[in-house]
């Protein structure tokens, strides 16, 4: 198909009668118009149309009530894809062997190096040629829920992406490094399919290159087959002016186990969504969030686990530290559908406020539609326990060291559950760098 102007598209028509659009929304529409129509045009157009209808989320939307996107909305984003500077590919944060994805486009050279038995990796453009039905299955709009609207935008605007199929038990972790380079908006898309009985550890790291205002709107979808075991990490290490909105969609078949870590160590504005569906008996999810609010960072983490089958289990653990004038929000929700009897869920959320200007907002929610369940949650927010501090001081430690140690120990609940192979040490080091008195702590390790 040739390049077509979409000026008469329903997307624009729908928006015509709506409230005045923000600069960001207009720039997304401009990006959409600049895209060439391909085989997925109809699907993408309907996604764009929905996104424009919904508009950018505001604080009136229940799941966005703590995150103000006004600054983001006022920014006009150009398309970041296609013009990745060579320097971005040489960034030091990239350690080999890793598959680099720059502004959503996978780096072909890396792919060849990573291939092993039981692992298939191909760009979405290739999958579209080989198995368009499979791709469509993943791209159909996920849901109408307001937290999914950025996934709709990603569906409309992604340039390319990655399809990963795991068919065996992989020994080494698979590392993906997403680089958002230069100003503009990138829409990376990753689809991971784990065949029944397979096992893998996947580490997705998001970094930004350059100091410009950038926006990364990433979507990762994981489909875990029966009995599959997936350990997934998403680590956010964007620059001080990077805005990142990430959507992670996990679907779990019977007996599958998924361990998911969300680690926030960077970026100016970060919003992460996790929507996990436990679709058959025996599916189990362990989700961990480690959110560090540093400087004036705004981090908003939304985790939703839906139990739609009997005998499913979910556990959500969050540890939050907020210092400087940062604001960290943790919003977790467990939904137990009618008929999902003997579901078990546990949410634990602890926040540590380190400075008078910082703020932590937590919302551990339960939505239960059947009676035979065991669901509980606990949440606390406060400062370091003065008794513990006193104990350390009485043992001869100075106040600064004692505080740092306690903070570090506070995060241990999440750290100890990470597997060493997944690069626990490097996550640990990056985390230490953001804690007060990091040098002291490093010396104690």
């Amino acid at each position: 198909m040739s390049a077509t102007a979409h000026s008469a598209s329903p997307a624009t028509a729908a928006a015509a009668g709506a409230a005045p659009q923000s600069a960001a929304l207009r720039s997304f529409e401009a990006q959409w118009h600049a895209r060439r129509a391909g085989p997925l045009h109809a699907l993408r157009e309907s996604a764009m149309q929905r996104f424009v209808q919904l508009g950018l989320p505001t604080m009136r939307d229940e799941t966005w009530r703590y995150t103000n996107l006004r600054a983001l909305a006022a920014h006009a984003y150009v398309d970041a894809a296609g013009d990745a500077p060579a320097a971005a590919l040489q960034s030091d944060s990239l350690r080999s062997p890793a598959l680099r994805i720059v502004n959503g486009v996978p780096c072909a050279a890396d792919r060849a190096r990573l291939l092993e038995n039981g692992l298939e990796i191909m760009p979405l453009s290739e999958l579209l040629r080989g198995d368009p039905v499979l791709l469509r299955g993943f791209l159909e709009p996920l849901s109408d829920a307001d937290q999914q609207r950025w996934a709709l935008l990603n569906t409309a605007l992604f340039v390319d992406g990655l399809y990963i199929r795991i068919t065996a038990r992989l020994a080494a972790p698979l590392r993906l490094v997403h680089v958002t380079a230069g100003p503009g908006a990138a829409h990376p898309r990753v689809i991971i399919e784990a065949a029944p009985g397979s096992a893998a550890t996947i580490v997705e790291e998001h970094v930004s290159h350059g100091d410009a205002d950038s926006l990364c709107n990433s979507v990762t979808q994981i489909a875990a087959g029966a009995g599959a075991e997936i350990e997934h990490y998403r680590i956010f290490r964007g620059g001080p002016r990077a805005a990142h909105i990430d959507t992670l969609d996990i679907r779990q078949a019977g007996g599958s186990r998924c361990k998911q870590f969300t680690i926030c160590l960077g970026g100016a504005l970060l919003r992460t969504n996790l929507e996990a569906r436990l679709e058959a008996a025996g599916a189990a999810l362990d989700s961990y969030a480690l959110l560090v609010g540093h400087g004036s960072r705004h981090a908003d983490c939304v985790n939703i686990a839906t139990h739609s089958a009997p005998d499913t289990r979910s556990r959500q653990t969050a540890r939050i530290i907020a210092s400087g004038d940062s604001r960290v929000i943790f919003n977790s929700k467990v939904i137990v559908c009618t008929g999902a009897v003997r579901s078990e869920s546990m949410q634990s959320c602890r926040g540590l406020l380190m400075s008078p200007a910082a703020e932590i907002d937590t919302r551990p929610q339960l939505e239960i539609h059947t009676d035979e369940v065991k669901c509980a949650h606990g949440a606390t927010t406060g400062r370091l326990d003065p008794d513990m501090l006193f104990y350390m001081l009485s043992r001869g430690l100075d106040r600064r060291t004692a505080q740092s140690l306690l903070v570090y120990a506070f995060l241990a609940d999440v750290m100890t559950d990470m597997s060493p192979a997944a690069g626990r040490d490097s996550i640990d080091s990056a985390l230490l760098a953001q804690l007060p008195e990091s040098d002291l702590l490093r010396g104690l390790r």
């Binding site: 907002d361 059947t370 035979e372 509980a376 606990g378 927010t381 406060g382």
Partner: protein, 482 residues
Amino acid sequence: MSSKPQDVEALIGRKYQHGFVTDIESDSLPPGLDEEVVRAISRKKQEPAFLLDWRLKAFRHWLTMREPQWAHVHYQRIDYQDISYYSAPRTPANAPKSLEEVDPKLLATYAKLGIPLHERARLAGVAVDAVFDSVSVATTFKDKLAKAGVIFCSFSDAVHHHPELVERYLGSVVPAADNFFAALNSAVFSDGSFVYVPAGVRCPMELSTYFRINAAKTGQFERTLIIAAEGASVSYLEGCTAPMRDENQLHAAVVELVALDDARIKYSTVQNWYPGDENGIGGIFNFVTKRGECRGRNSKISWTQVETGSAITWKYPSCVLRGDNSVGEFYSVAVTNNYQQADTGTKMIHIGRNTRSTIVSKGISAGHAENTYRGQVKILPSAEGARNFTQCDSLLMGAKCAAHTFPYMEVKNPTAVVEHEASTSKIGEDQLFYCLQRGISQEDAVNMIVSGFCKVVFKELPMEFAVEAQNLLSVSLEGAVG
């Protein structure tokens, strides 16, 4: 608890006991709402100009507002033009000055409810300001209270006799434009209760009001204002029953509490309005705004509620802890059965230093009911050393009911400690088995387990209410387990 075997089928089939309509002539306005209706209400009540202005301001603001959609409840849109906004029982010439002058039909109504007014008042030592629809018809124990300096009267009386207090405190806790239903109430409120406890006075008795909604198609818009001056303390009881009717009725009340330095207010509610029938037809829409402000140092406001009635409950009794060292408490039992929906909880806003709050919420859901706890704890940067503890537990009875927990915790001060815990489960099979094995019937066993679940809240209720609440609970859950 009765020990004789009960016929569960008969219990399930039992209809709402308090459902009847008393045949009294009412002086009502035709359905509809515009500025003229607001003026007419104010005129009928011969209100001073400041109150009319306040009502009109609220009404104009209400016109710009949209009905809130965020609550986890579903109902058909309310046609606000199809409601009559004023209804007063017509009594001979002037208002009665003693119980003997009260319309005997009214007294009979109370007798049917099991609360013979004078009997109960004398025996229990409770002053009853009974609100029958919208106008106060009987007030007792005025003398005793007057001796202590306590003002306890209907809102209309307060407007006429103590306009300076009303002008000073009305809307100071719940502003006229606070939310959609509060704005509507501010514009058209008909009557309610007014309590002023002067400085240093401990109110000599528990104050109580029995509410009833009576005339068909009449929304009830109560306004309650309670002020405890420096060092004063008062306990206020509110209990409600409503007659059975097939059309949904709107109830949008506003309750404001003000506690000055060292003052204490305890506000207890047992709400048992008509919940609709077993198919979810009819029932009261209870959209209430209740808020207390601990304005002074060391003040305390305590809310206790037992919510068993209403088709839809939308209610968040809140505390604004402005004074240093002030304390807010919220104890709640919410029971939903059949197709009832409840979205209830509290808000604790910590502003002053060393403010403390406790939230204990017990939700019980049976049949096809939806029971939601929604609570907000907000610690502002000024709330040095603030402390909150929240516990909300849900009990599910039946595979088709639902229980939700939506807490909001916002902490902006690092010296604060906020704790929240929640659990959801059904009645344990082992607990039931244990009771049945000892010869206790299923119905009684369930009642016993549920009572135990709610005990921590019931013990906060004044004596008179604790018994009533316990009975209500077992009546509400009849047939839920079988």
